[in-house]
């Protein structure tokens, strides 16, 4: 089911080569409808460029003539989150900016996806210090991580195509996909900060700074 690496070896684009095997409870009508909806979504992803630093410049270069994002339907940069589909966080996110990116994510209507572009957005990158969030996936749910510092436009485009593959594999009947996960203190999955510190201590990143090199 779905797409394997071999299918993608240069024949057509990511969105036409998906084999949609029916899951139990589905009929050919729903698979065709799913295909149509997903095809529409994947090929007209309006990005919300949350560009902070150097990756934003490479994002702009991707949008420019040489690497043209318009051929993916992404030339309409939605700077209002309420009109966008995919949040591309390009650049490092310090703690001062963290509530803002959370707010922007909350303002985006479903269906929405997030691409974490660059090393700093994915893990904090080279900024392992007091000021930078060590990965925006601690703040918003991320669909695709694009490594690089900054990633080449081809790398970003590869990440976007990977997101398109992911979208093509979605099923509209699946309610978990559009779930707006909010932190719920009563849930069994919720771990308070002090407990996180205890769990994380052997791995460093705690207040005791147990990592070897500063």
């Amino acid at each position: 089911m779905g797409l394997s690496g071999a299918d993608f070896a240069g024949h057509g684009d990511a969105t036409t080569m998906v084999e949609m095997d029916a899951r139990p409870g589905e009929s050919w009508v729903t698979t065709k409808l799913d295909f149509l909806v997903n095809w529409g979504r994947a090929n007209s992803l309006w990005p919300m460029p949350f560009g902070t630093a150097c990756c934003a410049i490479e994002f702009m270069a991707s949008a420019a003539s040489k690497f043209d994002l318009a051929r993916f339907g992404m030339e309409r940069m939605a700077f209002s989150p309420r009109q966008s589909d995919v949040l591309i966080c390009a650049g490092r996110v310090p703690y001062k900016l963290a509530p803002i990116i959370r707010r922007i994510w909350q303002q985006m209507p479903q269906p929405k996806w997030a691409i974490s572009m660059g090393a700093c957005a994915s893990t904090g990158g080279m900024f392992d210090n007091y000021a930078v969030v060590q990965g925006i996936d601690t703040i918003i749910p991320v669909d695709v991580y694009v490594p690089g510092c900054p990633p080449r436009p081809e790398g970003l485009i590869y990440g976007i195509m990977m997101l398109q593959k992911k979208i093509m594999n979605e099923r509209n009947a699946d309610p978990r996909l559009r779930d707006e996960m909010q932190p719920d203190p009563t849930s069994k999955l919720y771990i308070p900060a002090s407990r996180i510190d205890e769990l994380a201590e052997p791995f460093g990143n705690s207040v005791h700074q147990t990592r070897s090199a500063p």
Binding site: K96, A98, P99, R102, Y130, A131, I139, I196, D197, N205
Partner: protein, 234 residues
């Protein structure tokens, strides 16, 4: 403001400079010729200059904290010195914690094409406070705020000394001090929790809202949240 205005007369730096500027070569690490400002300052403010260091082609004057403001004012206004350009204000805390904290001013004279560094040493244990030069150079506005933000040095006379790079009620301390660990005092989860808990509706500080008289017009629950909850105080 409108398109009709007197064109400015062009100011060419070095209008009283004797030498043609050249790329410095073979700059000695220590020793060398003192800047003429050093002798002039020592004549004008006897006893205020604790030490003069000439290194790498630059003259640094280590100055008494009580005289620094008068000295910078004199360097700025005196026509033979004319250090009208403030390049930078910063501070240094050395790795050897016994040494004093230094507050550094970098001044340039565009008229004579000169550069000088002035320093004030604040020994450990004394209050971190120096006079502000905001009344002399408007460039000092944000430079001093940043120095305060990173080191905790108070610049007396600055009109609006609050944090600039970090948020106003940043609890962890002053980052560029040597006792501040690289990754901060709080754990990552604690830092993230503090950052995300910043009340997004308190986007405006109380001061800004009161300017606009808009506080009265906010809905009651929002007013209560802003007045009571943690403020970002950005």
């Amino acid at each position: 403001m409108s398109a009709v205005s007197q064109p400015f007369a062009i100011v060419y730096p070095g209008w009283d400079s004797d030498a043609t500027p050249a790329t410095p070569r073979n700059v000695p690490v220590s020793g060398g010729e003192q800047s003429p400002a050093a002798t002039a300052v020592q004549a004008q403010f006897p006893g205020a200059v604790v030490r003069t260091v000439v290194s790498r082609g630059e003259t640094s004057l280590i100055v008494d904290a009580t005289e620094i403001h008068a000295m910078i004012a004199w360097l700025k206004d005196d026509p033979t010195q004319s250090y009208e350009y403030l390049s930078d204000i910063t501070a240094v805390e050395h790795r050897d914690l016994a040494l004093a904290i230094e507050v550094v001013w970098h001044l340039r004279s565009l008229r004579f094409r000169r550069f000088i560094r002035l320093k004030v040493l604040i020994p450990k244990g004394e209050t971190l406070s120096v006079p502000s030069v905001w009344d002399l150079y408007k460039a000092a506005d944000w430079l001093e705020r940043e120095c305060y933000d990173m080191f905790g040095i108070t610049f007396t006379g600055h009109p609006d000394l609050r944090r600039i790079l970090l948020w106003e009620n940043y609890k962890e301390g002053f980052p560029l001090r040597k006792d501040f660990p690289l990754r901060g005092r709080f754990s990552r989860s604690e830092q993230l929790k503090n950052a995300l808990a910043a009340n997004p509706e308190a986007r405006y500080s109380m001061e800004e809202l009161s300017i606009a008289d808009a506080f009265e017009e906010l809905p009651l629950d929002m007013r209560r949240r802003i007045a009571s909850g943690p403020k970002t105080g950005e």
